[in-house]
Symmetry: C2
């Protein structure tokens, strides 16, 4: 059956023109997961161990009954010219495991989440769940996730905004 | 951005003595480990999945009897403005584990390995082994390793040189 390709590359159309759309990533940020309520300790460690600078912090909007301060969900630090996210393991479902040191996720920032996820899946990655509004460490932005054939999880997010609850 | 808030209780407390010597890191490069002889496949994947560009490759100097080509030990790719190393798991003793997807090591580049390792250990990291001449993925440069209190391995290396056996 001959098909006429009219306009717009449809997602399921395999025989037409190859999708030439170029996905551009503006940043890659490794996201390290640490034990519950240890983000502050870890950031203090990275400051003194490696001279990291804190550039952004995200706290949980709600304070739990047993907490004196809102839980620190994620802190973005700068090390040299690189950004690294230090995130609370127990509060973020993007964490690849629930053991200490188990997890590093690479956050790729781009405006076109769908195209980026599609491109990765066509190349052999497996989408993990649906594209959703991220919460917590991803600071309420859209996020899609793929696992690559080598076991690494890539979180594809819209670019980080400076959060309202920045301290420092 | 005009305001610098310096409210006291937030991040750290003042119990640690300030480290006077400043160690400067020029780059942070996450190093991903993939199965034996899969570096080439993985790099091809990252090119098609994320538009990565290859910037450097290191092959094993000796060809094994059953190999048609020298083993590809490590490839540095660029993704956005970030560098990532994709390395052969079985040939590199810096790999934190021997399972697929088990390992990400963060390579910190600096000229003063000793000072950097000292500073990290003073801050609470544990040195892993001695500072040595790195081989393989680290391209014959000096390397020290520390594990931080959160399970992440940091490899502290002299800056990467462009290797002789680059194929562009």
């Amino acid at each position: 059956m001959a098909t006429e390709v009219t306009d717009g590359p449809a997602a399921g159309d395999a025989n037409g023109a190859a999708v030439e759309k170029t996905v551009t990533f503006t940043a890659v940020k490794p996201q390290l997961f640490v034990e519950y309520a240890k983000v502050s300790d870890a950031v203090a460690f990275y400051k003194s161990a490696f001279g990291a600078e804190e550039v952004n912090r995200i706290t949980h909007p709600k304070r739990k009954a047993d907490q004196e301060l809102p839980l620190l969900l994620s802190v973005e630090i700068k090390l040299g010219s690189s950004s690294i996210l230090v995130s609370d393991l127990s509060e973020d479902s993007t964490a690849p495991g629930k053991a200490v040191g188990s997890g590093v996720v690479f956050c790729l920032e781009t405006e076109d989440i769908e195209a980026a996820v599609d491109q990765a899946v066509k190349a052999g990655a497996v989408a993990e769940g649906e594209i959703s509004e991220g919460e917590g460490a991803c600071c309420d932005r859209r996020v899609g996730k793929v696992k690559d054939p080598y076991g690494i999880v890539w979180s594809i997010c819209t670019p980080a905004k400076k959060c309202v609850n920045v301290e420092a």
